[in-house]
Symmetry: C2
Amino acid sequence: MRDVAIIGVGQIEVGEHWDTSLRHLALGAVQAAIADAGVAQADALYVGNMLSGELAGQEHLGALVADFAGLRGIEAVKIEAACGSGAAALRMGYVAVAGGLADVVIVAGVEKMTDVLGQDTTAALTLAADGDYEAFLGITFVAVNALLMQRYMHEYGYSHQDFAPFAVNAHKNAVNNPYAMFRFPITAERFAEAKMIATPINLLDSSPICDGAAAVVLAPADMARSLSAAPIRIAASAIGTDSLAVHDRRDPMVLDGAVISTRRAYEQANAGPEDIDLFELHDAFSVMAALSLEGAGFAEKGQGLRLALDGEVGMDGKIPVTTMGGLKARGHPVGATGMYQIVEVVQQLRGLAGKNQVKDARLGMAQNIGGSGATVVTHILERMDG
Amino acid sequence: MRDVAIIGVGQIEVGEHWDTSLRHLALGAVQAAIADAGVAQADALYVGNMLSGELAGQEHLGALVADFAGLRGIEAVKIEAACGSGAAALRMGYVAVAGGLADVVIVAGVEKMTDVLGQDTTAALTLAADGDYEAFLGITFVAVNALLMQRYMHEYGYSHQDFAPFAVNAHKNAVNNPYAMFRFPITAERFAEAKMIATPINLLDSSPICDGAAAVVLAPADMARSLSAAPIRIAASAIGTDSLAVHDRRDPMVLDGAVISTRRAYEQANAGPEDIDLFELHDAFSVMAALSLEGAGFAEKGQGLRLALDGEVGMDGKIPVTTMGGLKARGHPVGATGMYQIVEVVQQLRGLAGKNQVKDARLGMAQNIGGSGATVVTHILERMDG
């Protein structure tokens, strides 16, 4: 197995791109990543996407994006793992390069959720849940998360307002991210007054429906040094899974997929949570931020929210999270999100995160979650100049 | 890179399974493959599927099938490349095992197209075509193929009736395949009288809408000999792509994706078309059988159909195709088809193809096509006892 490095990154601004088609979204990110890497060709393209068929009237994204990006002919497929599709595509790219079956691989995540042919985005998102045992009964994906939040509050004695720090921190960090959808701060008071979506989840517990695309270029680490001024090594890449249906889990308050994929990632990187300088977690809803912190070993059961309440998830805390705005404020174009997280960790490790720079960041982790935890993809990235 | 072998195969009967859900279809194939391989665990599961979201109301198939098959926790994702999804998933499994990132990998293809939530299967299949430049104009996927067939007849001077041998051969072979959907022979006369679907494609030019699942278990070849009595080596695995839209191609009568992926496959296997003992080609519509034979180097441009007219694609011909019924008569559950082709080649190379056994088969090729040729996945399998 070979070491794999990220030699280029690209992203477009997250938002409601009513004037931009699915393929143009992907093109923007892929072109930017290719330009950043300075490569002219690639061996393969893996595209992470969840809902192009349901919402944008288009499957077969691998060949489509390859052709549109001027890469006609190369190996190309779409990878789907619900909201974890982006990072799952990176995992496939990592496998191909690490195993020596490809040298230069482009990985993109893309999602078009607004101004689409499919009318019901809420129904489409429910495809991440168990169709027969959750969705068929009429529960939406937000409602699945609402049940988790209710249970979290009940089990551990928190109030809804206790979740405010996650959203406040995310919005604060998004202010300085030119690619973020919501570049404005919010207060705990505004959080308290936000309208209810699915009790107890309110609008500011929730990431937005939006469009976006992000991409990276991979190469073997030994090639990377000659191709890139600041290659970033993929120190770990792992996927863990669990049941889609929450009621089927060992413990609904533990993301076993996160436990499994993080354990594998720490082993690969020969590191532990204490070594991680920043953590791009999957705050699709604020309860998922708490559960992700716990699943990844940053807090004991029920203590993930305590970390936020103690101010330890901010830029100066023990473990800075959502440093560029997270899903909440950068935005959550579902199949693209995992790749935005990766691009943001790369920017941090390159020292290019501007006002949100985590000082001396050397090891960064990204965790992309599919559904309510059935697929969890964890990557640890490392600066190569150390 | 390590040699990779198939150590187990499983399939369910193709048909209209009104009483069987998507996950149960997949389970049947995965369980059969696991039993055939005699393994208890796996490192990863890759699921090929095209339309589970649109038709069956379910995305996130990787984790779903893993959990339902008793493999909760393992790495699992869905791979999509339109009708080429099944073989594309095998390609990902091959990459993981060949590169040393996994030892035992299960690859499944599954599709549920009948008795589904989504009402319009014809519209769903059009997601394989270019949404903005083909489907948006109202053309169906059958109609795209009808244009190709019309052009083929016009360019090379064939009649519609000249295509009959492909369907007649496929139905003849399906009679002896207990997993085939249409286990009855047809005559050239019946072909001539079949009702028109999209001129000039008639019902007997067309593969059926149906449900199915097929799976294999992969392992490194050096482990395979101890695990399986009859391991089959994957001598080549390659994907080639082209534009989704037919009008954008270099030459609408050449499947460049097939040319590219077959060339790569021949290089990997150190073989040429003259070495291939049987060819499971992608006869979704009969014109694709002709184009696939040409793209894969078995015939010159315009001569693929001639091979069939000369009786060279039958069991005793130069290159036996669709030996177990092909897409036409075994059935075409789109995301599962590529894996059915692989299972059938394995059965041939194991010498277990019964009355349809190709004598002394040593090298078999399968070619799975996404859309009207935008993704072409080619695998060459080889008997290991030679």
